[in-house]
């Protein structure tokens, strides 16, 4: 009904306008052109003032162009035959101005399509239009080089007629991109725009046929122009003022729709709230999270300060402070107290809404599943750690037990062995007469075997003592320790005709007795494995190695001899308990010396190795940390 009434009114107005032509064509022409000039100016004013909001530069371009089109049309109106404003130009002038205006209009509509997805500087375009319009006018009024369009009595020139056809083609070309990019326009605006251009094409066709500028086809052409501008008015002016979001705020509307869809898709719980606790709106996910119904939300019951347990208030306070300061707060973890009294862990991020410092939008994540997974992970980690601790403790206990057992066994085995030795010795020394030669030989062998067992037990005892009788470490001077060892070994050194050279040795944090044991074993080794006919020479010296600004480095102590040496492939074997590289008959001992050395060095956080060539002497290399 509404549309029919409006169309009827429009037709009546047009009819009224036609009637004015009966009174005088000049009046009709003036009204018709005046209408389109007003609309052209209106379009310009709207898009120019909205240029900063307009994302669609097509409309902006058209708006600017139409100001100049309107300007030329105004001159055309003033130049119309019988107006008497411009003397001495005849009927060709208004037609030239008309053609100039139409070219500008048609080309502008085509060029505007170029800016469907591009931006331009409005000021720049304005200047370009100003200059082009100036040039056109100068070419018409002063230089008079603009082609003739109308000859009195003859009618329209071919230039004018072909120009109208050319403009039809240009206008058709201007429609195509609009249809292709329909999505960039509000549907109604697009239809009106296309209808306006189509009407303009019809108008151009009407203007190809008139003989008199007061003739009927001229009248129809002007009526079509009115309709065309009216449609443009509907498309741009009315739309932008009545439903601005369809045109000027189309982008805003689209982004609002996008946001609305995020809100309503319920991907995450979202709530709009006041800083004081009132929840203004929330999506279904949020309501589900806090366990309230929409009715309760609308009744103001689902306040966020109510669903926050007391012990989490401080987190909210911090978040609100940050919102006030920065406009947003990074995600925080807290708990919500649901309507049914249960708790739900959430991750919550919020930002202030622009324009109102008291309104915030909050995004939440339900962390229940994640917390469960974390707890399960932590629990299994704890259990694992506990198990490792128990196993380690068990191993340590067993290891200690074993060491204690070794110590006690070696210790207690000495007792009966000693008695076997004593009673054997008694028989061997006090009862020789009553024993046969063979018996005495066996007694001697028994004594030797017992002696070896005693040595074995004593070494074993020394070895296990290294771990079962730990003394705290203290600063000891290695040089003094080595000197004492050398003096203890004086007899052996003299017997072997050996010499021991002691270089500068540092003070280290160590167990003095164990260090003595280390050097005693190494020196005894050097004395024992000497070369026939060559007096043993033992050289003990030390150099610092490694270490830089942050690491203290190590002391490297060399115990070098000129003995028989060994093949390096046996290097690792030598340091194992009860390992020997030579037969018992050649060299005595039970094979525990170097094992004890290794244990001592390792207990001090160091290492021991050896370098040698058979017959070329050996060097034992001990590394001890400079700081324990």
């Amino acid at each position: 009904m509404h549309y029919i009434l409006r169309t009827a009114l429009l037709l009546a107005a047009l009819f009224g306008l036609v009637l004015t032509s009966l009174h005088g064509y000049l009046l009709f022409h003036g009204l018709a052109e005046g209408f389109s000039i007003v609309i052209a100016c209106g379009i310009f004013m709207i898009v120019w003032n909205a240029r900063r909001l307009l994302q669609n530069h097509y409309l902006l371009f058209i708006g600017i162009a139409y100001l100049f089109v309107g300007g030329i049309d105004f001159l055309h109106t003033l130049a119309y035959k019988g107006m008497g404003v411009f003397e001495g130009y005849g009927a060709d002038l208004p037609t030239q101005l008309w053609i100039a205006g139409r070219y500008m209009e048609a080309l502008s509509l085509l060029i505007a399509t170029f800016f469907l997805h591009r931006k331009f500087s409005p000021r720049g375009v304005f200047i370009v239009y100003g200059l082009s319009t100036g040039l056109l006018l100068v070419s018409i009024f002063s230089w008079r080089i603009f082609p003739a369009c109308f000859q009195e009595g003859v009618g329209l020139t071919p230039f004018k007629i072909y120009s109208e056809y050319i403009m039809c083609v240009i206008l058709l070309a201007a429609i195509v991109p609009l249809i292709k990019n329909a999505k960039d326009f509000d549907r109604k605006v697009l239809i009106l725009l296309i209808a306006s251009i189509v009407t303009t094409i019809a108008q151009e066709l009407a203007f190809t046929t008139y003989l008199s500028v007061y003739g009927p086809s001229n009248l129809i052409g002007h009526l079509l122009k009115i309709i065309s501008f009216y449609l443009l008015y509907k498309a741009i002016v009315e739309t932008s003022l009545v439903t601005p979001w369809n045109l000027l705020f189309r982008e805003l509307k689209l982004s609002e729709a996008k946001f609305r869809s995020i809100f309503e898709t319920n991907v995450v719980p979202i709530a709009y709230s006041n800083i004081d606790g009132q929840v203004l709106d929330a999506n279904d996910d949020y309501l589900k999270l806090v366990g309230y119904t929409r009715e309760e939300l609308e009744a103001g019951k689902a306040r966020w300060d109510v669903v926050t347990p007391a012990e989490w208030k401080h987190v909210d306070d911090v978040a609100i402070e940050r919102l006030g300061r920065d406009g947003s707060c990074a995600p925080i973890e807290k708990e919500y107290l649901r309507r049914d009294g249960t708790r739900v862990p959430v991750l919550l991020g919020a930002c202030r809404l622009p324009g109102d410092p008291h309104q915030v939008v909050a995004f939440c994540l339900d962390l229940t599943e994640r917390k469960k997974a974390e707890e399960a992970l932590q629990k299994s980690r704890d259990e694992l750690e506990q198990r490792v601790r128990e196993r380690t403790a068990e191993l340590e206990r067993r290891n200690q037990e074993l060491q204690n057992f070794t110590f006690v066994a070696a210790h207690d085995l000495q007792e009966p062995l000693r008695k076997l030795q004593t009673f054997g010795d008694f028989i061997a020394t006090r009862c020789t007469d009553s024993i046969s030669e063979q018996g005495r030989d066996y007694l001697r062998r028994m004594g030797e075997t017992a002696g070896r067992m005693e040595a074995l037990l004593r070494s074993l005892l020394d070895y296990s003592r290294m771990t079962s009788k730990d003394e705290p470490l203290a600063k000891v001077k290695l040089k003094e320790i080595v000197e004492t060892v050398v003096s203890d070994l004086e007899t052996q050194i003299k017997e072997a005709n050996a010499s021991v050279e002691i270089g500068d040795l540092p003070a280290v944090e160590a167990d003095a007795a164990q260090m003595a044991s280390l050097f005693q074993n190494l020196i005894e080794n050097a004395l024992k494995f000497r070369r026939d006919g060559e007096p043993p020479h033992v050289k003990i010296q030390c150099t610092p190695v490694g270490g830089n600004g942050s690491k203290p480095g190590e002391w490297e102590i060399h115990v070098e001899d000129n003995g028989i040496g060994f093949e390096e492939q046996y290097k690792d074997l030598m340091f194992k308990p009860f390992q020997r590289l030579h037969g018992r008959k050649e060299y005595g001992g039970v094979g525990m010396g170097l094992a004890i050395c290794k244990k001592v060095v390792e207990r001090h956080g160091g290492s021991i190795t050896a370098r040698s060539t058979p017959g070329g002497g050996s060097t034992f290399v001990v590394r001890l940390p400079r700081k324990q």
Partner: protein, 137 residues
């Protein structure tokens, strides 16, 4: 011989073999006097309380049941009536800490029981000369 003339060595050791060895070696060493053995610290203290005169030397083992040598040593060396009696630790131990401890508690000497019978004889001879003859002279 009166008890005055026969110096008494009191030996506390739970090892019968060692007691026998000590007695035999003492006898063989030709030293004057005799060794009397008790099996632990309790028996030793009991014996001391009844002894008159007091023994000229105590040979004390360290590891014994009921009351060990360390405790007995402490009690004797803190008893004004007994502290003058020389005490020699005769033990299987070679531990340095045992030597240091007993010396600190007032023991006169520390001897590790030997393996060879001949050494037993030598030790007994030496002890008798050092602690029994000296007293008499």
């Amino acid at each position: 011989l009166s008890s005055q003339d026969t110096p008494l060595v009191l030996m506390a050791d739970d090892d019968e073999d060692d007691c026998t060895l000590a007695k035999d070696a003492f006898r063989e060493s030709g030293a004057r006097g005799e060794i009397k053995c008790v099996e632990d610290g309790v028996a030793l203290m009991d014996c001391l309380s009844r002894s008159d005169p007091l023994p000229g030397l105590i040979l004390l083992d360290l590891n014994m049941p009921r009351k060990d040598g360390r405790q007995a040593l402490k009690e004797i060396k803190t008893d004004p009536k007994l502290q003058a009696i020389p005490i020699v630790i005769l033990t299987t131990s070679r531990e340095k800490e045992d030597m240091v401890y007993t010396r600190a508690m007032g023991a006169e000497d520390f001897i590790t029981k030997p393996g060879a019978y001949g050494q037993w004889v030598g030790i007994m001879k030496g002890l008798a000369e050092r602690w029994l003859e000296e007293r008499e002279s």
